[in-house]
């Protein structure tokens, strides 16, 4: 086997056999299976649904679930590696062919890859590490009517509650701003937006 695009490590032995078994599926069956796979790849949290769909596929096509799961594991190696390395659909197709999949099926999968890759890339970027991610911001503002030191005050205050994800926990941070501080903060955030937009 020549150099693969999606990985630098040697591929497990079982993969060749799994590709051979895949070749035995009809075009229609392969297309249905591919659909199930991309459904899972674009919504990786839906594990239950994925397993149900696989089991339905196995029953409908009279394939045992165990071997099917192994085949699926082998197939998924390619899109996962391809996503990490920003591979083109030609490279994905070439890799499947190198692994032993028929040209027809490899081309079909590569096509589906092309269609789904923007969504998949967005997902991968979304999973990238974020430090103390800001999840939510709540606010209220009001007027201070009086205090123990000043009978009548009449000054405006603004309170922000920032929900920050620290590790796996959410932490609430409460901050109070005066009006001038608020306008200054708003101004700074608009500058940040301009900066971010110039890099997009």
């Amino acid at each position: 086997m020549g150099l693969l695009n999606f990985t630098r490590e040697p591929v497990p032995e079982a993969v060749s056999a799994d590709m051979h078994n895949l070749n035995q599926l009809s075009a229609q069956q392969f297309s249905a299976l591919t659909e199930v796979l991309f459904c899972f790849l674009t919504e990786p949290k839906e594990v239950e649904r994925f397993l149900t769909q696989l089991s339905d596929f196995a029953t409908m096509n009279k394939i045992s679930l165990g071997p099917l799961k192994n085949i699926v594991k082998s197939i998924l190696l390619v899109p996962n590696g391809a996503l990490k390395r920003n591979l083109s659909s030609e490279q994905v197709r070439a890799d499947f062919i190198a692994l032993g999949l028929s040209e027809e099926k490899a081309s079909y999968f590569a096509e589906q890859w092309k269609v789904n890759s923007p969504t998949l890339t967005r997902l991968a970027v979304g999973q990238t590490l974020m430090i103390n991610q800001l999840i939510d911001m709540e606010w209220k503002f009001g007027v201070t009517a009086g205090s123990s030191e000043l009978e009548k005050v009449g000054s405006i205050f603004l309170q922000l509650k920032l929900v920050v994800k620290k590790g796996s926990q959410l932490e609430n941070v409460y901050v109070e701003l005066t009006l001038p501080q608020f306008y200054s903060f708003l101004h700074e955030m608009e500058r940040v937006k301009t900066s971010l937009e110039s890099f997009s």
Partner: protein, 198 residues
């Protein structure tokens, strides 16, 4: 907040023993700014300058504190209002001097009171930087801009006394989060203008 008590005006007359008008002025400022708990030590410091007993110094300092805080609390700005506070038989010159000193300081004292008001932790400073993420374990090559925002937050001044605790919170915002935040801030601004224009 301290309310004026009966014995206060009697104690104020001790000021007649003060060496100069400036000394009275100084004392007024110190007594206003001091929290009730620190009045004791302040009285001890004032004692020698006034040639009075420790007990008299304490009563005086307490009285000046109560008077100045009372005026600020009520928001009195007219001289007549302040003069009216003093009893009939109060020493005329001293009354005028105290009124004058209070009027001189009233607006800075008011600001001081407002600044030391209780509040949630206050925003002290905002710094930011924009990074471009070029690579990660989930995707080897990318160009995703992200913002790091550092908020310096000071705990309630009243709790910390002279050593305010400032903590720094650094948060990361994606472009989407920033857009949502700006939307929220924009709405605040609109509501503020609506309130201001009423």
């Amino acid at each position: 907040m301290a309310a004026l008590r009966d014995g206060d005006f009697a104690a104020l007359q001790i000021l007649l023993k003060a060496p100069s008008k400036d000394a009275v002025r100084q004392l007024c400022q110190e007594c206003f700014s001091s929290p009730p708990a620190a009045l004791g030590p302040l009285a001890q410091r004032a004692c020698p300058g006034l040639a009075v007993s420790a007990e008299e110094a304490e009563q005086l300092v307490s009285a000046v504190h109560n008077l100045t805080r009372h005026v600020v609390y009520r928001g009195l700005t007219a001289p007549e209002d302040i003069l009216r506070l003093f009893p009939e038989n109060f020493h005329q010159n001293l009354k005028n001097l105290l009124t004058k000193i209070i009027l001189e300081n009233i607006s800075s004292w008011r600001n001081e009171a407002q600044a030391s008001q209780i509040s949630l932790p206050r925003l002290v400073d905002v710094d930011w930087r924009v990074d471009i993420k070029t690579s990660s374990d989930s995707i080897v090559r990318m160009a995703v801009p992200t913002c790091l925002l550092q908020l310096k937050i000071q705990e309630d001044a009243a709790l910390c006394g002279n050593n305010p605790v400032v903590s720094a919170l650094t948060v990361e915002l994606s472009k989407e989060t920033l857009d949502t935040m700006l939307e929220g801030l924009g709405r605040i601004r609109d509501q503020l203008s609506a309130v201001a224009n009423k």
